[in-house]
């Protein structure tokens, strides 16, 4: 890659344009030098796609919470880009316990302690957690 080929395709989603990354490219004499790049179309497509997949799934889960099929824990887990295993290790539970807490009937009976743990991991208040989808 020559210095004049370093891509400058703006990354215009989720504040991605705030960062200009450094890349190594060769100048006219073939010598390597560092050049900042605004972004590259190929990378932007790949990153955007990953985010779109996240947003799509999150919207589906939000619907299910509203219909009473899933508890708000499932929604906030996805919103924080977590999987069951990761969330379980944050709240100090087994994976099967976390999965059980996805059931609205179980969620409604959770103790204040457990709810507080989840809320802390999601960086929200217990009220926000309980009231989502209502």
């Amino acid at each position: 890659m020559k210095t004049n080929e370093v891509p400058q395709d703006k990354r215009d989603f989720k504040e991605g344009d705030k960062i200009h990354k450094l890349m190594y490219a060769v100048d006219n004499d073939g010598k390597y030098t560092g050049i900042t790049s605004a972004g590259w179309e190929a990378e932007n497509i790949a990153t955007k796609q990953a985010w779109d997949a996240v947003d799509e799934e999150l919207a589906e889960t939000a619907e299910k919470v509203k219909k009473g099929e899933l508890s708000p824990i499932a929604y906030y887990m996805q919103k924080n880009l977590m999987e069951v295993a990761l969330l379980a290790s944050y709240v100090g539970k087994w994976q099967w316990q976390v999965k059980r807490h996805f059931k609205p009937s179980v969620f409604n009976k959770l103790s204040a302690d457990v709810l507080a743990k989840y809320a802390a991991v999601f960086n929200i208040s217990v009220d926000e957690l309980k009231s989502f989808g209502k």
Binding site: M1, Y24, Y32, G34, T36
Partner: protein, 334 residues
């Protein structure tokens, strides 16, 4: 608490960048490519059975911590490394070291670094950064991928340093203890190059090193039959993201390694290394071309521009050229 005179340099990759920044602070004039090369940072692995967020794991670099460890060992620099059980003790230890004027490197999760744009914040736990001081209750951060320095609140830094998942940073921090009078770059460069060739060419398993490039190439050929268009697109996207992750110019660290070979060639006055550098730059362009076409195919899902077969061939050619190149580099008479 005082702030030491610390100079921040932007780098392409976090680990080689932090290594270079910490060593420069001690007066060792080392570039990022040099740290990356001596630390044998370039690698390839494709693990179809290890799913990372539902897509097969692909990496273009060696495992976290290895670049830093190898580079400092090979240059004879004594480092202090430490992990912690609790965030409180980790913060105390950090405060006492920066109070003495030492910048401290550490592992963190990018998800919990509020100074990064949301677009980059996934649960990736092996991001390296430097803390070089504390002012008005906030840590002063030199993140090598940023153009400028940043600050972070102690509670956010604690979250980032004690993130869960794989790997767990467990507050891992490191700083330079002592620097030798004389540094032998020649030996360090040779050791780095030898190790890189070994890791690229020798693993007898299909998932690691050069062999894994051919494995991925074969897998890509099968994507249209094996996967739904959505899955195929996500899998390809992941390869491109790993290839491009933090400033590699789409070449999966080939340009960074080529820059190292060039600098090493100049330092050791060897034309053969210069030649290898130029060749690797061309191969890097091939990788870039592969990433570009993969992204197009991904976007259109049923693109006619280039089919999965052609894409697989582009990758296979990269693998063949590299097998030949690293084979010749391995045979260098030092």
């Amino acid at each position: 608490m005082s702030t030491v005179l610390y100079k921040h340099y932007q780098h392409a990759h976090c680990e080689s960048g932090v290594t270079a920044n910490l060593l420069r602070h001690e007066g060792i004039n080392i570039s990022e490519p040099m740290a990356f090369g001596i630390g044998a940072g370039i690698f390839f692995a494709h693990l179809p059975f290890v799913k990372v967020s539902g897509t097969p794991g692909t990496t273009f670099r060696t495992w976290p911590g290895a670049i830093f460890k190898r580079t400092t060992q090979r240059l004879g620099i004594e480092m202090h490394t430490e992990r912690f059980r609790s965030p409180e003790r980790a913060n105390q230890a950090l405060d006492s070291v920066i109070a003495t004027g030492k910048p401290v490197g550490m592992l963190s999760s990018v998800y919990y670094l509020p100074y990064l744009p949301e677009a980059f914040r996934f649960h990736f736990n092996a991001h390296n950064l430097v803390v070089y001081g504390k002012e008005n209750g906030r840590y002063l951060v030199s993140d090598p991928i940023l153009e400028d320095v940043a600050t972070i609140a102690p509670e956010d830094l604690a979250k980032a340093r004690f993130a869960k998942g794989t790997p767990e940073p467990r507050g891992f921090m490191y700083y330079v203890k002592s620097v030798p009078q004389h540094i032998d770059y020649t030996k360090a460069i040779q050791a780095g190059i030898k190790q890189t060739c070994f890791f690229m060419l020798s693993p007898p398993l299909p998932w690691f090193g050069n062999k894994a490039i051919f494995l991925l190439s074969k897998q890509i050929k099968k994507y249209p039959q094996k996967l739904t268009p959505r899955k195929a697109s996500l899998y390809l996207g992941n390869v491109v993201r790993m290839q491009e992750e933090i400033g590699t110019g789409g070449a999966g660290f080939r340009f960074l390694y080529a820059a190292f070979l060039q600098e090493a060639g100049t330092m050791l006055k060897r034309d053969d290394l210069q030649g290898f550098s130029a060749e690797l730059t061309k191969i890097g362009d091939d990788w870039r071309n592969f990433a570009y076409h993969a992204a197009r195919l991904m976007k259109d899902r049923k693109s006619d521009l280039v089919s999965f077969d052609e894409l697989s061939d582009l990758l296979r050619v990269c693998g063949e050229k590299e097998r030949d190149l690293f084979g010749r580099i391995q045979k260098i008479k030092w």
